[in-house]
């Protein structure tokens, strides 16, 4: 049976069509989910796409966190059952919802940055990265103004220790992220937040590579195996 992957559209979501396209290219069926409906339509996994939900005037993701759909999504994700990938604004929403620790703040350059970014995939046991080799380098577009990951030192240490850092920027973090963090996961490995945009690296014609497809195909293997995910070296 084809996996059904929900893509949530908030007012101000921008990369929702792109995320749906990536889901389709990976071989799954994208299902549109509307922020205002507390209904996950029985999907197998959810992508929170990039964009500027509610304009992000207050703080990125701060308002989207309270959308009706989140009342269904948060408990399912927290329990470890529902795989969720938050990309860029989606990552910000996951942090604001406390599904992931820390926060994303203004780029150290203070400017929006759009560039083809090399990442190193570190955690390869999550629902979204099991298809990558540990340490594999990939090129994926980064495009954000508030992508600098911050958390307390103790939290950062814990993330490192538990193998929950999913990806790091290769070289100096372009946005000032602490410890070069580009993406992290929760303790179950089902919830992943990533600042760069894998959905924009799924076609050779329009992306800098097709390296991003691995996030979506990883999900399919994960769903197919039916095995619980575990985060890193525990």
């Amino acid at each position: 049976m084809t996996a059904r992957v929900g893509v949530v559209t908030f007012p101000g979501s921008l990369d929702d069509r792109d995320a749906a396209r990536a889901v389709r290219i990976s071989g799954a069926e994208p299902v549109s989910l509307w922020h205002g409906d507390a209904d996950l339509k029985g999907v197998d996994a959810v992508v929170l796409p990039g964009g500027f939900s509610y304009g992000d005037y207050l703080r990125c993701g701060a308002i989207a966190r309270f959308a009706p759909i989140m009342s269904e999504l948060v408990p399912a994700a927290r329990s470890g059952a529902l795989p969720v990938l938050g990309i860029c604004n989606g990552f910000q929403i996951l942090c604001e919802s406390h599904l992931l620790p820390g926060a994303l703040t203004r780029n150290s350059s203070r400017h929006f940055i759009c560039r083809d970014q090399t990442l190193r995939i570190e955690a390869t046991t999550t629902a979204w990265t099991n298809g990558y080799a540990p340490g594999q380098e990939v090129v994926i577009p980064l495009k954000s103004g508030e992508g600098s990951y911050v958390a307390e030192a103790a939290t950062l240490d814990e993330l490192e220790r538990d193998g929950r850092i999913v990806a790091r920027y290769v070289g100096t973090a372009p946005n000032g992220s602490q410890r070069g963090i580009a993406g992290i996961t929760n303790e179950h490995g089902n919830v992943v937040g990533l600042m760069p945009h894998p959905e924009h690296a799924v076609e050779a014609l329009t992306g800098p590579s097709v390296d991003g497809l691995g996030f979506f195909t990883s999900l399919l293997s994960h769903l197919a195996s039916g095995s619980p995910v575990g985060a890193g070296a525990r």
Binding site: D18, R21, F52, D56, F112, C114, K143, H200
Partner: protein
């Protein structure tokens, strides 16, 4: 006896014919004012004066440029591609398989000098609404920019603000930026150029026009509330010489809300898809004045508006201010009464405020003869009763005098032969490096890296390639390519050839992507049309573009004229920015400007003279 209203009404205008009116302050000439009195057979009310002054401003009426722009139609080459020509919000071109593309470039120069970030941001917002209004989904933007010297103190204020404004608005809307230009010259120090282009895609059958047919149909204003943004902007900002004085009496700046515009786009596209609108117009410069007169003129000619029903951000606004406000993110639709509920429900879904402010009315044959009949009331009193066509279509037309300036010969005589040439390798090297390091030539990625070029996932080419290219649907391989070019120095030296040069460069930039050039848009940035030398530049430039378009077979589908780009009495170098659009059947066949990998041993050819 009922109390006299405190505001001006038609009844008052009839009983007080000699009340002096501030037409000059609103940028109107005495003979224009006299013509309004002629049309109405009485003095205008202050609301009518507001409408005529903005609609007859240079910015809205093209009164100085019209006689020259006609050539674009008269000399237009045969083209099967043109579905909607000049005159609508934007031209529409057939790109095959039942798809059509609409594109246009527009200036926001003066507001971007006053408040660079908001000025540039709202420039993007405005052109995007123009494209949306045609029924298309906006799919990409471009920006052509000119600034004073890179190291001038004011450039440090203006440039980062402009770039952040474009980046903020375009990125938040989710429109990829697929190209543009950036140039520097002392002439732009007090008058930067911010020209924004947008392109949209639709099916042939989805084309929408600015018209209000069908008496009884409702006039609905939807989007943002109306505030005191840019009041007087249309006539004072866009049409009066930009000098210290107007810097001092700053109008209330237009602030953009891209989030609202994003919702407005999605909401409008859903309204179109459900076939809930019979006519639509965006509110740009001249706001409600422009939308009501143009929609009425494009339909039965009759419309009745209750101005009190316009939702306000600031309850103190007067009717004149409501008519002139340039608040962003607003649209006006004509909706059949039996579809109104569904229209309102769709707006509610997207959290978009919508209000019925009036309806389309029938006109008598005599009224139609006069140019229709637009009536507006305020607190129950009639404050406007005028033929809308006289404001929207029958504005003044000037044959401004023009003359080749005497200094043109000296300018041309001062050619490159007079420059010292490098004599040694070291000098040559130094010169080459200096050239490559010049701000207008060096890598612009410090600008372009602030623009999202990936969003929507259909960007095939963007910076650093010569032209931008997008795939127009997810299903097929069809695409369009775009490039903009302009060269103020060349155009100053020879406006006719310089404009053709800009056009040819844009044409080549599209051709080298592998696309077939189809159509042209242009933004003509010039000094004051009241200066015969500037007017000569303009006449030559438009003649050059019209001739070139005929030669190469691409019609001009639309564009924008920006006059009064000057500091004091010094005009900028005439800067026509030309945008060329091409079509490619299979985007996988596109060419990039890089030589590519694994081509060792391949030959390099230089084509041309």
């Amino acid at each position: 006896m009922p109390e006299e209203p405190r505001f001006d009404t038609v009844a008052k205008a009839e009983s007080t014919p000699d009340t002096p009116q501030p037409f000059a302050e609103l940028g109107m000439k005495e003979d224009e004012y006299d013509r309004v009195r002629d049309i109405l057979g009485r003095r205008p009310t202050s609301a009518e004066l507001a409408i005529y002054s903005v609609m007859w401003s240079e910015h809205c009426s093209y009164k100085s440029s019209k006689v020259h722009l006609r050539q674009f139609g008269e000399k237009a080459p045969e083209s099967d591609a043109l579905l909607v020509g000049m005159g609508e919000n934007a031209g529409v071109v057939d790109v095959g398989d039942g798809y059509a593309v609409t594109f246009k470039i527009e200036s926001h120069n003066h507001p971007s000098y006053v408040e660079p970030h908001q000025g540039a941001a709202t420039g993007v917002g405005g052109i995007v609404r123009d494209i949306l209004t045609m029924g298309a989904r906006p799919v990409a933007v471009m920006d052509a920019l000119r600034f004073g010297p890179a190291d001038a103190p004011d450039t440090r204020r203006v440039l980062p603000g402009v770039v952040s404004g474009i980046s903020f608005y375009g990125n938040c809307l989710g429109l990829p930026n697929i190209g543009g230009e950036i140039g520097f010259d002392a002439g732009y120090a007090g008058n930067p150029l911010v020209n924004a282009l947008c392109v949209g895609v639709m099916r042939h059958e989805d084309i929408k026009l600015a018209q209000a047919p069908g008496p009884g149909n409702k006039v609905v204003l939807f989007g943002a509330t109306t505030g005191p943004d840019g009041i007087g902007g249309a006539s004072v900002l866009a049409s009066a010489t930009f000098d210290e004085e107007s810097h001092a009496k700053r109008p209330s700046v237009q602030v953009g809300d891209p989030f609202l515009e994003k919702l407005l786009i999605e909401c409008s596209l859903e309204l179109f898809a459900k076939d809930l609108v019979v006519g639509i117009q965006d509110l740009g410069a001249a706001g409600v004045s422009c939308a009501t007169t143009e929609l009425a003129a494009g339909g039965t000619g009759g419309m009745r508006i209750e101005l009190d029903r316009v939702p306000l951000r600031d309850p103190r606004l007067t009717p004149e201010e409501i008519l002139m406000s340039e608040s962003q993110e607003r649209m006006m639709a004509i909706v059949a009464p039996d579809r109104l509920d569904e229209f309102m429900a769709t707006c509610a879904k997207w959290d978009i405020l919508a209000s019925v402010i009036g309806e389309v009315t029938d006109v008598t044959p005599e009224e139609a003869e006069r140019g229709g009949r637009l009536v507006m009331t305020w607190r129950g009193e009639t404050i406007v009763d005028m033929p809308p066509r006289t404001a929207s279509d029958e504005g003044p037309v000037y044959e401004r005098p023009y003359a080749r300036p005497a200094e043109q010969d000296d300018l041309q005589a001062d050619d490159a032969a007079r420059l010292e040439r490098p004599r040694t390798d070291a000098e040559l090297r130094e010169q080459a490096l200096r050239l490559l390091g010049a701000p207008g030539i060096a890598d612009p990625s410090w600008v372009t890296s602030q623009y999202d070029r990936y969003v929507l996932g259909n960007t095939v080419l963007a910076t650093p390639h010569d032209g931008g290219m997008i795939r127009i649907t997810d299903e097929g391989d069809r695409g369009v390519a775009l490039a903009t070019d302009g060269n103020g120095r060349y155009t100053r030296l020879d406006p006719y050839t310089g404009t053709q040069l800009a056009y040819a460069e844009a044409y080549r930039n599209v051709a080298v992507t592998g696309a077939r050039p189809l159509a042209v848009t242009n933004c003509l940035n010039f000094g004051s049309p009241e200066d015969p030398a500037v007017m000569w530049q303009f006449a030559e430039s438009t003649r050059g573009l019209a001739d070139a378009c005929r030669q190469l077979g691409t019609p001009v589908t639309g564009g924008n004229v920006s006059f009064y780009n000057q500091t004091g009495s010094t005009a900028i170098n005439p800067t026509p920015v030309i945008g060329v659009l091409g079509v490619i059947d299979d985007v996988n066949q596109r060419l990039t400007s890089a030589f590519g990998r694994d081509l060792e041993g391949a030959r390099v050819f230089l084509l041309g003279e």
